[in-house]
């Protein structure tokens, strides 16, 4: 969460409004090598990106297909009959939890909620952040100013405490965690989009569009948005990464759905159940490593996409 601010894309100095230099690397002529095909070709050349995407595809498939090979009988505590907190064996490649459920199956099932919360939170964040950033950047005047101040102010709110308080207010559970994550993280997306919008709006082609007779909404939708979209895309992959981490953190702190199966919840019950003391490493490592890998997957993918879309900034982070 807070110590996991999303890895920022562009190093934007603080006062974007009165900056001597344009805050974000302008979307300089991009080598859009023949659209999608070219994009794919560039992407496969970046090894870390391919690795990241592979991770995502594997986890995505596992999450989607999980119901095909995991049944209620494997997860419902009153139906399973495995040994309690047993170290890995043939039947249970990653051992079992206190209730005798297979950790492997739990990790796979946990991917469903961890990924879906991460994605949902990201969608919310990105939609909210982009809309506000776009409007704040496009309209000068008091609307823009007000939105900008709102954004800056939200950035100044301590996100983890705020998220904790929010989910306590809204009530516990996945929905509230999702909302809490979105509410605390839209502001950085908004700031990014706003800066980029300003950069794009300063371009001559915007003036040309106006000279051709375009109004505000047309400029925004036809010119600004398409030019800001790649950045939004990149930033959203990184947002997913931090949203997944946030989800784990909040759930770990006991704000999630304690009866649900997610990686954060698994770690929560592993830790509160004394897995550390009893040396039940098979309970502790898999969910943590799963988080690590998926977050890494999103980050690597995001970086690769960014490298392609904005080759000037080989910001490999």
């Amino acid at each position: 969460m807070t110590d996991h601010e999303p890895l920022t894309l562009a190093v934007a100095p603080p006062q974007a409004e009165a900056d001597p230099a344009p805050p974000v690397a302008p979307a300089a002529p991009k080598p859009r090598r023949n659209g999608l095909a070219g994009f794919v070709r560039s992407f496969v050349r970046i090894r870390s990106g391919v690795a990241g995407l592979t991770i995502l595809v594997v986890f995505g498939l596992l999450a989607i297909c999980a119901p095909l090979f995991i049944s209620d009988n494997d997860l419902d505590v009153i139906k399973v009959d495995g040994p309690s907190l047993h170290s890995p064996t043939g039947g249970y490649p990653l051992g079992t939890d206190q209730e005798g459920r297979s950790i492997l199956l739990l990790v796979i099932w946990g991917a469903r909620s961890s990924l879906s919360i991460g994605l949902m939170a990201t969608v919310l964040t990105v939609v909210l952040g982009s809309a506000i950033g776009l409007v704040a950047g496009h309209y000068g005047g008091w609307i823009g100013k007000a939105l900008m101040h709102l954004t800056d102010w939200f950035i100044a709110l301590p996100s983890l405490p705020l998220a904790i308080s929010l989910s306590a207010v809204i009530g516990q559970g996945t929905a509230s965690i999702t909302i809490a994550i979105a509410v605390t993280s839209w502001s950085s997306t908004a700031r990014l989009v706003r800066a980029q919008t300003l950069a794009v709006e300063a371009k001559p082609f915007i003036e040309r569009a106006r000279a051709l007779g375009a109004g505000g909404p047309q400029v925004m939708l036809r010119h600004v948005l398409p030019n800001v979209t790649p950045l939004i895309l990149v930033s959203s992959t990184l947002t997913v990464a931090s949203a997944i981490l946030s989800e784990a953190t909040l759930t770990f702190l006991g704000l999630g759905d304690p009866t649900g199966i997610s990686w954060g919840a698994m770690l929560n019950s592993a830790l509160s159940g004394g897995a550390v003391t009893s040396g039940a490493w098979w309970y502790l490592y898999p969910p943590g490593i799963a988080i690590l890998i998926v977050v890494l997957g999103f980050t690597l993918t995001g970086r690769a996409v960014e490298t392609i879309l904005n080759p000037r900034s080989v910001k490999t982070r």
Partner: protein, 353 residues
């Protein structure tokens, strides 16, 4: 007047690079700049007070129930407690008290601890500052150093290792890393015994000067390590990309053409420029760290603010929560302010507003 015109004019303003004119010293207009920033910070702070209050008022809480649970308590006692906590006041009344109290430095009385929130926060502030300060200092130094090195030679093995390591560490949930480190170094794995303390800030049995300092240092190792591992990645990333941004700058070519050695080009020319955005980023980030210590402090029983606020949440102890929330927000706002000021101080290009 149609908005298109308006927008065009302002658009042109932003588009136009600063027309250099006259020898404006960076100091001039500073007072005004500072004043506007201070006002903005103050407004943010007030807004934070409001949001904090509203948010926490919305929280479903009958603290009396929670506090007295499990203890023989009569109705009268509960009513007394409610009165004592100010729960019998109306919301506007409470808000008024809250704002005036906050502005006069009183943060109210904790429901749970029956003590002034400010003194509770004061008690916990230093441990948090110690932890955060040490961790930030180490991560900044390490992160900047690595970031500069790997950005300057991006694609080199050092860069790949640094980037890979920092990305991986960034992807690790802090609390999990904390537990893993705790198991490894405190509980011990296999035949190797743990040798670092499992929690707390000092061993109360050890007293006296140097021993105590060393003992605190020893307790600091694990939480600090955890924080450093997770946060230094961001500094590496920021610094690295700033350096890379600067790499193509013509002034570096000038420096090279002057016959400067590579090291000097980096040190004297690239780094000062690349530091500008990084420093402000780091300041802003440090502000958020205070509130982010919750997990580490929880895992390592570090007697700091993060833990205090987490504990307050469980009751929930609204005055205390509000208090910590205010402190966290204030730290971010303060750091942002500092970042603004320092940025202006560092970058001669920043114009008077």
């Amino acid at each position: 007047m149609p908005e298109t015109l308006d927008a065009t004019v302002t658009g042109a303003v932003t588009a136009e690079p600063a027309a250099p004119r006259g020898g404006r010293r960076p100091g001039s207009g500073f007072a005004r700049y500072l004043a506007t920033k201070l006002v903005a910070a103050a407004i943010s702070f007030l807004a934070t007070l409001v949001i904090g209050f509203v948010l926490f008022s919305l929280m479903p809480a009958d603290p009396v129930q929670s506090i007295t649970r499990g203890r023989p308590t009569s109705d009268a006692q509960m009513a007394q407690l409610r009165h004592q906590l100010g729960l019998d006041q109306s919301v506007p009344e409470r808000f008024l008290h809250f704002v005036t109290d906050t502005l006069t430095g009183h943060l109210g009385t904790s429901w749970e601890f029956q003590q002034p929130v400010s003194s509770l926060i004061g008690d916990r502030l230093w441990p948090t500052l110690l932890l955060m300060g040490t961790a930030t200092a180490i991560s900044v130094v390490l992160g900047l150093w690595l970031g500069i090195r790997s950005g300057w030679r991006h694609g080199s093995w050092l860069d790949r290792i640094a980037t890979g390591a920092s990305l991986t560490l960034w992807s690790v949930p802090t609390f999990w890393l904390g537990m893993i480190l705790l198991i490894t170094f405190s509980v011990g794995i296999g035949p190797i015994p743990g040798f670092l303390p499992a929690g707390g800030m000092s061993d109360p049995a050890i007293t006296g000067g140097l021993d105590h300092v060393l003992d605190v240092a020893k307790h600091l190792v694990l939480p600090c390590l955890t924080m450093v591992l997770v946060i230094f990645a961001q500094y590496v990333a920021v610094m690295r990309s700033s350096i890379i941004d600067e790499l193509g700058s013509p002034y570096l070519l000038t420096a090279r053409a002057k016959g400067l050695r590579d090291d000097d080009v980096r040190r004297r020319h690239a780094v000062p420029n690349a530091l500008l955005p990084s420093v402000t980023m780091i300041f802003m980030h440090v502000g958020t760290l205070l509130g982010g210590a919750i997990t580490v402090e929880t895992v390592y029983s570090w007697p700091g603010l993060g833990q205090l606020s987490y504990q307050a949440l469980k009751v929930p102890d609204l005055p205390l929560l509000q208090g910590t929330f205010i402190v966290f927000s204030a730290s971010v706002i303060l750091m942002n302010l500092l970042a603004d000021v320092i940025y202006r101080f560092l970058d001669p290009r920043v114009r008077a507003q």
